[in-house]
Symmetry: C2
Subunit: 343 residues, 2 copies
């Protein structure tokens, strides 16, 4: 690999000039600029990123904090791939890369994991990362606070964090839930239940709020026994549905806070001899791939999955260059009507 020095020698200029050609092109004479550029191209010169990072104390890498929570080993992010696609492509546009940080095993490092956010923040400094993107791993929301407070630019996904240089992006969970519930009400249902995520989980709480708001708007009385909580997993959807069906007056429609739980609800309903959507209308949330494949296909609230990544990238870039905090981003949601609601 050619170095700046070699380019300089071949061009008869100093290394400083070569460096300037790339970093402050306007300060160098047009003619010599061209000369350097030509030689650099011929030799296929690329500035060494390690040296550059060392010198500028700033690399072109963004850390990706994503751990599958060890307390929930089976946990899967519902749309990691789409998110990464959006994130990566938007960061690429700025010449930035994504670093998936190791979480343990480095002899020089205390075990870093979400339980120990400090380890990650140290990583950030060690590698001169520009910032962190925090992907919700199912819990550990409190750890995100530590990240946000650390002063490192960071943007969290689906967790509202606050910090000197932190922000977050989330979907319009309340709006989506409201739409879904209103849709069910519009179909004539008056006994509409909801299966929520874990209490305290922000997207889940927002969805519940949206559900309640819709009931009010539709003039329906809220019933506490129509709000049962799950944990976004399929199994919890089954359990929750069973509880709902055991009520004296079971609901005729259910809005679930995730597609996975909706599938669970579907299975439970079917097991109980109910037909969806004839006997029970179902609406999910997420619009993951499964939603279009189950039978009946799931009506669901669709999130802008690559949009998450793109918005996160934008926010982090803004914080890196702008040195301030950014406004949180709320992505619009969209109701995708399929068969499970019976419309």
């Amino acid at each position: 690999m050619p170095t700046g020095r070699e380019i300089a020698q071949l061009c008869g200029v100093s290394v400083a000039t070569v460096s300037r050609v790339f970093n402050q092109p306007e300060t160098v004479n047009e003619e010599t600029r061209q000369r350097v550029l030509r030689v650099a191209k011929e030799l296929d010169y690329r500035p060494n990123e390690s040296a550059r990072a060392l010198s500028t104390k700033q690399s072109t890498m963004i850390g990706l904090v994503w751990d599958t929570d060890h307390r929930r080993p089976g946990w899967r992010h519902p749309y990691l791939q789409d998110l990464l696609i959006g994130l990566k492509s938007a960061l690429s546009a700025h010449g930035y890369h994504l670093l998936m940080l190791a979480t343990s095993g480095d002899a020089r490092e205390v075990g870093a994991s979400l339980a120990d956010p400090v380890g990650y923040v140290n990583m950030t400094r060690r590698h001169h990362l520009g910032g962190l993107v925090l992907i919700d791993s199912g819990s550990d929301a409190e750890a995100f606070g530590t990240f946000a407070q650390s002063g490192v630019p960071c943007v969290a996904l689906d967790v509202a964090v606050e910090g000197p240089r932190a922000t977050y992006v989330t979907s319009d969970n309340a709006g989506g839930a409201r739409m879904a519930t209103l849709h069910l009400a519009g179909l004539g249902h008056s006994r509409i239940a909801t299966i929520t995520g874990p209490p305290g989980n922000e997207p889940s709480d927002a969805r519940v709020a949206g559900y309640r708001a819709a009931l009010r708007e539709a003039g329906l009385a809220p019933r506490e026994d129509y709000v049962v909580s799950g944990d976004f997993y399929r199994a919890s959807g089954i359990a929750a549905m069973q509880r709902l069906l055991a009520l004296d007056e079971p609901p005729t429609a259910v809005f679930t806070a995730s597609d996975e739980m909706a599938v669970g609800a579907l299975l439970a309903a079917r097991a109980a001899g109910l037909q969806v959507p004839r006997d029970l209308a179902l609406v999910g949330f997420d619009d993951i791939e499964i939603a279009s494949v189950v039978d009946p296909a799931l009506t669901t609230v669709s999130q802008d999955k690559p949009g998450f990544g793109v918005a996160a990238a934008k926010a982090i870039m803004a914080m890196i260059t702008g040195a301030g905090r950014e406004e949180p981003v709320v992505l619009p949601t969209r109701l995708v009507v399929r068969q499970s609601c019976g419309s």
Copy 2:
């Protein structure tokens, strides 16, 4: 952030000694070693990775080459998340990180994309990456050859590459296909068709080979009109199934090279008035999440998804330290029997 120099001063030793404490502990006196370690811990010292990489010409990062092929915008890796989990955790154990390389937009870089593997290889050198992990993005297999030939340690997933420091990991595709087909034969089917992936795609070709081998073993005559090709997508499964159903003597069982296509086949069969598994037995490949959710649940050949990541990590670490080539890894597959085959 404290530097090595500060530690050195506080301990009354030289920076060289501090460095040795971390890199060649056995060469430094036990007592001073402890002293340095203690002070380092107090100050929460971490060696700067940029400086270290610059000096050693070797970082603790592995490049991840994964682009959604622009010619197939909708393409999704069937189990990226599991793969990443395995990859990341295995690399973490060695203190290595995963760098998702940007593919374009860097002003200093020609647009790097799979169409231009050279850009990636340059990235490798710029960042002193230890090696590359190549994730099949649906096509671009020929680009992988360029990576493998570049001399950079690299391991490809599901694409057989050859190079001075290259290897690959793949599933036992032939074995899995054979198992699946034999299972169908064992169920009494004699008219067993297959829906393949794109011709030329290695896993697909291997699966076809396994299918043929199984027919031979079962004493069934191969029929060329029973081999129709798709592209792993669901839509192609639908089309392929329609072609099979249009035959004079339609198959009673179909082995498809992917679960997505199996779902397509299922839909096509249902649309044609057939009941699965009563009128048609179906076996897929991959065991993605959808497989257990469709109705009837899909019998399928399951791949060791995190195993891919772990094996890749092992191979790349071996090549980094060992400086040679590694043997390709073939992961075992396993038949998961559910309802779609009617057993």
